[in-house]
């Protein structure tokens, strides 16, 4: 039996595989290169390129087409931002917990490669950003909402979520608007929660008490 095992292992260990790295940039950069946020922001983009890009763990990945997402995508984004703002933002008056951003660029620093991302909606707790900062949001948000498009690849989305968690984002809602479900991730907890129409989004410890029925979101 052990002879069989060794032979098989030898056979399967032999083939040489050329790994392709996923980069589809028109600017002609080295696809193997890992970029810093500074290098990424200094890049000159081809005007004919119809994609927008993010930097995730040092790699440049397409975010979406320049023409923008669907109307539905935008509508869901707006609803989430509205409910968050009403509950934890300006709507909370003196009890305001923080600030809500739509399409706010975030520099996640480099907990695991550099990442410069633009979540659809995010929330940053009060007092975490310096007054009058310029440029991208300088801290990792406390809550990130990503509304996924049918064209998003699994690898890109999961790597992005990994980067958010590594940067200390406390709560992530990954929204699947076509199939009407949400996957919720919480920092320090490896359980992914699949939320369906009857379930509700939960602010967890980031926005205590916040609840939003998926029904209301996807109606």
């Amino acid at each position: 039996m052990s002879i069989v095992t060794e032979e098989l292992v030898q056979v399967v260990a032999t083939p040489e595989i050329e790994l392709e790295l996923e980069t589809e940039i028109n600017a002609g950069e080295d696809p193997e290169k890992l970029y810093t946020v500074e290098e990424f922001l200094a890049l000159e983009w081809d005007d004919d390129d119809d994609e927008e890009y993010e930097l995730i763990q040092g790699r440049i990945v397409p975010r979406r087409e320049k023409i923008g997402p669907s109307g539905k995508h935008s509508r869901i984004s707006t609803k989430i931002a509205y409910y968050l703002e009403a509950y934890a933002g300006l709507g909370a008056g003196e009890q305001q917990l923080g600030e809500v951003y739509t399409e706010g660029p975030c520099n996640l620093g480099r907990p695991k490669g550099s990442s410069y991302v633009v979540p659809d909606v995010c929330f940053v707790a009060a007092g975490r950003t310096p007054a009058n900062f310029s440029g991208p949001i300088p801290v990792a948000p406390d809550l990130v909402v990503e509304i996924n498009s049918p064209s998003d690849t699994l690898e890109n989305i999961h790597t992005k979520i990994e980067s958010y968690l590594a940067a200390g984002v406390g709560l992530i809602w990954s929204v699947y608007l076509l199939d009407k479900y949400v996957i919720m991730y919480r920092l320090g907890e490896s359980r992914r929660l699949f939320l369906e129409l009857e379930d509700e989004l939960d602010g967890s410890t980031v926005i205590p008490g916040f609840k939003l029925k998926l029904n209301a979101l996807f109606d």
Binding site: L8, P150, T153, L154
Partner: protein, 166 residues
Amino acid sequence: MIAQDFVVSQGEEEVMEEMASGLHGVIASRVNGYLFIYLLQNKLGHVLDSSTTYNFGDDLPRRESDVSFVSLEKMPIPLDSELAFAPDLAVEVVSKNDKVYELETKLAQYQKAGVSLIWVIYPNSQKVEVYRQKTGLIEQVVDLNGELDGENILPGFKLKVKALFD
């Protein structure tokens, strides 16, 4: 990989949807091979290839995994019967263009159907996501330096992630 069928368009022209790359096939075959070797010595069940279809029940679509494992006690006799249950282990090898919608939906169905252990292999970033079923899917990312563990499904089975990509 998400299975895509051949599509015949109305103009009678046969169009092939995106199919798996050689890399995908090599990795799936390796997992298959290592599991097979383990199961030769530990007669716990069967490793099944990507042509196997599971029927999870009326309200869930039929599913195929790139590689799967079913324990002896679950396996129907005769073998030539419908697999109306979830495998104990499901392995998905991600193709570069696999859409997040399709695989997340598949994972949700695996969760509902009760697959105990899931390995999602990423050939490009050379990592494996391990999902365990414990009141929901518990997720862990194992990188190139790590090892896959058969846990209580395949006791003693260890596979260095490096061995999949070397």
